[in-house]
């Protein structure tokens, strides 16, 4: 078995490799910023974010493989690195200009196919050169392993710097310009002679981009008047003015328009009229959009209002008319900044009503408010007969099978936490839940409205009577009964699969049918099929007795496992501890630091042979098993960065050992890297949008365990050929 003697290389193994460090820092910064910019232009869902991540990894693998195959000149390395921020800026502008190319209005929806096309197209511009740069850097340094190590270290540093020093303080565009300028400085320091020209060109390009950043955003919203835009911690907040109306958007999604109380009235009154009023109300989201004003119409009420994004509050305070601002400053309102679920779970307060006014559950962070675990937590904080309420988009005149499945799931999930539930039909469906009976009798609701002296516009008696006509309620009841009802849980967030289906169904294309068909498969097939395929690949020794193929397979499996496990751990963290910006960046950095540390360990190994690889594979299997078995407990928050560090550590060490075992690695330094990325891509493309909501966390960890057990077996059986 080949072993690398690194007695001579031990001193070289840790030598700082500035181009590799720069490569990693650039990659991390560009990925974060491109993802944020993409989310601002396409409907935010796990599916679209998965497209971007998958595209990134895919093109990185292609770039790496292509550079290994075609061997561009080493001198191209500084040009490639210089091109990355310039191409990223072009990608930003392409995103903002996408709607013109597609002939769309600002705010007009696009389908999954268009989103995928743009995700893969734009990531190609940035990730392809980065993948190729890895190979050139490896050739320059004479060691793919060392480049991997310093690239990981650079990624950790770049990720932390971007998340901590850029994103909180400036727009995506400006952050890109600063990151690009910093990269130029790095180029200047890392290379000499004519290559310094590349640095100057980058700086100029970044300056030019910074100048067009603001105008390009205004152009995107034309013909609407964009009065302000701000890239906050949680996304882009845009304020549009249409005559006297103020419209607030978060990542292209309209949060509210003012004056327009239609949404606020239905979010509040169907719930609060159940008991003729309320004393203590918890409102999560939606307060600025008029919800607070509606709640304050009830005598004697006090409100805890929780809002995640401080930017929403800040801009609303600046632009809303005085009556709307007055609600925020009312003495009866206590405003809390932070995650609503974390607030509720850490509170001892008991409420008469818990009202959710949030977007639909299309992403993991939002889905946490629509799970049985959250509903049970809310139930525990409600007084006897207290009411929980939320709204989701529906349809007034016809409920198709996709919508029926989603609504039935919401109903079933509520019913798993509350004995009494009711649903108000309409273009939005208003869900109500309580421990005491609920009423949808228009006469009763009308009477209570009159008793309180409630003045409303969109929930007047005639409107309510029309909306709650027996025929409409029967039609809704039939749809709820016909829909495939599942329980939406933290571990199996099936709702955002339904959201992906609903989104795609508006376009009546192939994506809708594929998604719907995947959901109708017996659940075991969803995992068994891909598992079986991968296992067959790992069993390839019989067909491909050459060692490199087996090692590349093992590297791909490692990439798939670490990417998948990383995503699952992050989602689990968000579920348990909330979506707080300041906490996510350190988690991502922990993984990258672990990667670098693991690569360091790999470089320092005295023996990098089959036994080491098998040991690492076994350890990875063990870690996956531990992550799976500990799902039933609630680990402390500190356990998550530790788990991510370990994952990264194993991945980094694995890569170094695998690279040493591939005899062709020296000739084709990108082959193992490409295999790693290809495996990660497979994990990214299907995991969070389809496999996780449909199969669930426990099944996925079980599947990963089976895969890694098969991988271990393949390595053990074929160890003599490694």
């Amino acid at each position: 078995m080949p072993e690398l003697s690194n007695a001579g290389s031990r001193n070289l193994g840790l030598r700082f490799a500035p181009p590799a460090f720069l490569l990693g820092a650039l990659a991390a910064a560009m990925q974060i910023l491109l993802l944020r910019e993409f989310a601002a232009h396409f409907p935010a869902s796990e599916l679209t974010l998965g497209f971007v991540l998958a595209g990134w990894l895919f093109w990185g693998a292609i770039g790496s493989a292509a550079a290994s195959r075609f061997r561009p000149a080493e001198a191209a390395l500084p040009r490639l690195l210089a091109a990355v921020p310039v191409l990223a800026a072009a990608a930003f502008l392409a995103l903002r200009g996408a709607r013109f190319a597609l002939g769309l209005q600002p705010g007009e929806l696009t389908g999954a196919g268009t989103a995928a096309l743009f995700a893969f197209g734009l990531t190609a511009a940035v990730s392809l050169p980065l993948g190729a740069a890895f190979v050139l850097a490896a050739r320059r340094e004479g060691s793919a392993s060392r480049v991997y190590l310093w690239e990981a270290a650079g990624a950790a540093a770049g990720g932390i710097a971007t998340a901590a020093a850029l994103v909180p303080w400036m727009s995506n565009g400006r952050a890109l310009a600063v990151a690009g300028a910093a990269a130029a400085a790095g180029l200047h320091a890392a290379f000499s002679g004519r290559r310094k020209r590349a640095a100057a060109i980058v700086v100029l390009a970044m300056l030019a981009f910074a100048l067009v950043d603001g105008p390009s955003l205004r152009l995107y919203w034309r013909p609407f008047e964009l009065v302000r835009t701000s890239d906050g911690l949680y996304g882009r907040i845009s304020v549009l003015r249409t005559e006297e109306q103020i419209n607030l958007y978060a990542d292209g999604f309209r949060l509210y328009s003012c004056p327009d109380r239609s949404g606020a009235e239905e979010a509040v009154h169907f719930a609060l009229l159940q008991r003729g009023g309320a004393r203590r109300v918890l409102l999560i989201g939606g307060g600025i959009g008029g919800g607070l004003g509606e709640i304050l119409k009830y005598p004697g009420v006090e409100v805890d209002y929780v809002e995640l994004d401080p930017e929403v509050l800040r801009l609303s305070e600046e632009f809303l008319p005085a009556p709307e601002r007055a609600a925020l400053r009312d003495v009866r309102v206590r405003t809390h900044l932070g995650d609503g679920r974390a607030f509720l779970e850490s509170s001892r307060a008991v409420y008469d009503a818990v009202l959710l006014d949030l977007p639909e559950p299309a992403t993991a962070p939002v889905n946490r408010f629509y799970t049985v675990e959250f509903f049970r937590s809310a139930a525990a904080h409600l007084a006897e007969g207290g009411v929980l309420s939320f709204r989701v988009p529906a349809a007034e005149n016809y409920i198709g099978p996709e919508l029926a499945a989603f609504l039935a799931t919401m109903r079933a999930t509520l019913a798993a936490a509350f004995p009494e539930t009711a649903v108000v039909p309409g273009d939005t469906a208003v869900f109500l839940a309580s421990t005491a009976p609920l009423t949808l009798d228009p006469g009763i609701l009308d009477g209570r409205m009159a008793d309180i002296g409630l003045r409303v516009t969109y929930t007047q008696p005639a409107q309510i009577a029309a909306r709650l006509h027996p025929l409409r309620r029967e039609a809704l009841a039939r749809a709820l009964a016909s829909g495939r009802a599942e329980i939406n849980t933290d571990f199996r967030p099936v709702s955002y699969y339904f959201q992906s289906v609903l989104w795609s169904s508006a376009f009546r294309g192939g994506a809708a049918r594929i998604l719907a068909a995947l959901g109708s498969l017996p659940r075991p097939w969803l995992l068994v099929l891909p598992l079986a395929l991968v296992v067959l690949l790992l069993a390839a020794p019989v067909l491909r007795p050459r060692a490199p193929a087996r090692i590349l397979s093992a590297a791909a499996l490692m990439g798939l496992t670490t990417m998948s496990a990383e995503l699952l751990v992050l989602i689990r963290f968000q579920t348990l501890y909330g979506v707080v910006y300041g906490r996510l960046a350190p988690l991502l950095a922990a993984f990258m630091i672990g990667l670098a540390a693991g690569a360091f360990r790999g470089e320092r190994r005295s023996r990098r042979g089959a036994a080491a690889l098998i040991g690492l594979q076994a350890t990875l299997l063990g870690l996956v098993l531990v992550l799976g078995f500990t799902l039933a407990v609630r680990p402390p928050a500190a356990a998550f960065p530790s788990a991510l560090f370990l994952l990264g550590f194993l991945g980094g060490d694995f890569f170094i050992v695998a690279a040493a075992l591939v005899p062709a690695a020296a000739a084709r330094p990108g082959s193992v890297y490409a295999a790693d990325l290809a495996g990660s891509c497979v994990g990214a493309v299907a995991l969070s949008a389809i496999l996780l909501p449909l199969a669930g966390l426990p099944a996925l960890f079980a599947g990963l365990s089976v895969l890694n057990a098969a991988g271990l077996l393949a390595l053990v059986v074929g160890r003599k050929r490694l």
């Binding site: 929806l109 249409t242 292209g252 016809y398 005639a462 025929l471 068909a517 059986v717």
Partner: protein, 382 residues
């Protein structure tokens, strides 16, 4: 060790055999997947009633004559609307009696403001539409083929009986596009007429003159959604044509069938005051000042659900333009409680009907006239 015989004892042939067997077992999963993928294509309880407006062509082709698209179809092909199909050289409607939506709505919701105020309309629709508006409120059915929706058998006789049972003095053909279920609508209107139930049509007006002419003889009122007054808007946002809609409006007005027009105002897309003024002048010239015109507030929907809703001031401004130009009855819609919901006597400005959303708070019209100055107020009041 012989490199050709790995330790497992597995050889290439045995591996391939095992893989093939495993693959066959696993293939049942993909087979189920493909079956589900194409489940939409299965026909499901569709009607097979011959269409009334088409002409036969050689080679079993037909040309539909119902709407301006005039789809020319080969055997087994369907029209743009998706609910009519050429079967062996004869053209059939697939949605006769196949209602996917049935509801009881206040008549003001359609909106009809000069027809039986304060009453309820039994509202019926099938799947399909002959245009594709990006802002469609009922896209789930209008942009679907009949096998993609769940429908019930609801023949004309049952529709009329249901209207009586629900104490609805009218039936509204609405939600999707009634033109595409023309035969069903026509026969139901005839049946309803026999029972003294009025028939109302809520349509985009994309219909040919001949069928429209026949329809006006059996229905009582038609509301046309005039989506814009520029051909460009119709081309980009509706995938239709403006000209046939204008012709339809003129025809209905000539036939004396009660007509109301709705203009859904979408910010920046069709709210240009100059275009609206041209439209109002056209209406005055071709239809007359007494046709009610509704400027309705756009609420974000379907593919444009992230556009902002129409500012209220825009609606009020457009209403003012229309009144200044000389239209007698101009309303704002989707703004409950707005002054623009009310009906005023065009002569003496007496408040005739005060509305608040769907509620009629006061109705002073007596015998179809203003109680103060006796000016006739056109409409169907009883």
């Amino acid at each position: 060790m012989d490199a050709r015989r790995p330790l497992t004892g597995m050889n290439r042939r045995r591996f391939l055999r095992t893989a093939a067997g495993t693959g066959a077992a696993l293939a049942s999963g993909p087979a189920a997947l493909f079956q589900n993928l194409y489940a939409f294509q299965a026909t499901a309880n569709l009607s097979h009633v011959e269409a009334r407006y088409y002409r036969k062509l050689p080679d079993r082709e037909i040309e539909c004559q119902l709407c301006p698209r005039k789809c020319r179809l080969g055997d087994k092909e369907r029209g743009y609307c998706g609910v009519r199909e050429n079967d062996g050289g004869r053209y059939y409607t697939l949605v006769y009696g196949k209602a996917c939506t049935r509801a009881v709505d206040p008549i003001e919701k359609k909106p009809f403001f000069h027809v039986l105020p304060g009453t309820a309309a039994l509202s019926v629709a099938t799947a399909g539409c002959n245009v594709s508006c990006k802002f469609c409120q009922n896209w789930e059915i209008s942009q679907s083929r009949p096998e993609q929706v769940t429908h019930v058998d609801f023949p004309p006789r049952d529709v009329a009986a249901a209207a009586e049972a629900n104490r609805c003095p009218s039936i509204a053909f609405t939600y999707s596009e009634p033109t595409v279920f023309y035969e069903y609508m026509f026969d139901t209107a005839v049946e309803a007429g026999r029972r003294g139930v009025r028939s109302l049509v809520v349509s985009g007006g994309h219909i040919n003159p001949e069928p429209l002419e026949a329809l006006t003889k059996v229905v009582d009122a038609i509301k046309i959604d005039l989506k814009a007054f520029t051909p460009e808007f119709y081309k980009t946002w509706v995938k239709g044509d403006l000209a046939p809609v204008l012709e339809a409006i003129k025809l209905i007005a000539r036939r004396k069938t009660w007509l109301e027009i709705v203009y859904l105002v979408i910010p920046t897309l069709n709210d240009d005051p100059d275009d609206v003024r041209r439209m109002v002048r056209w209406i005055l010239k071709e239809v007359g000042p007494a046709v009610p015109l509704h400027f309705t507030r756009f609420m974000p929907m379907y593919l444009v659900k992230n556009l902002p809703p129409t500012p209220i001031s825009t609606l009020r401004a457009l209403r003012k333009i229309a009144l200044e130009e000389g239209l007698a009855y101009v309303y704002t819609g989707n703004i409950p409680g707005d002054e623009g919901e009310n009906t005023w006597c065009p002569s003496c400005k007496t408040l005739l009907i005060r509305r608040n959303g769907f509620a009629i708070e006061a109705n002073a019209i007596k015998g179809g006239m203003c109680p103060s100055c006796r000016t006739p107020v056109p409409g169907i009041w009883a």
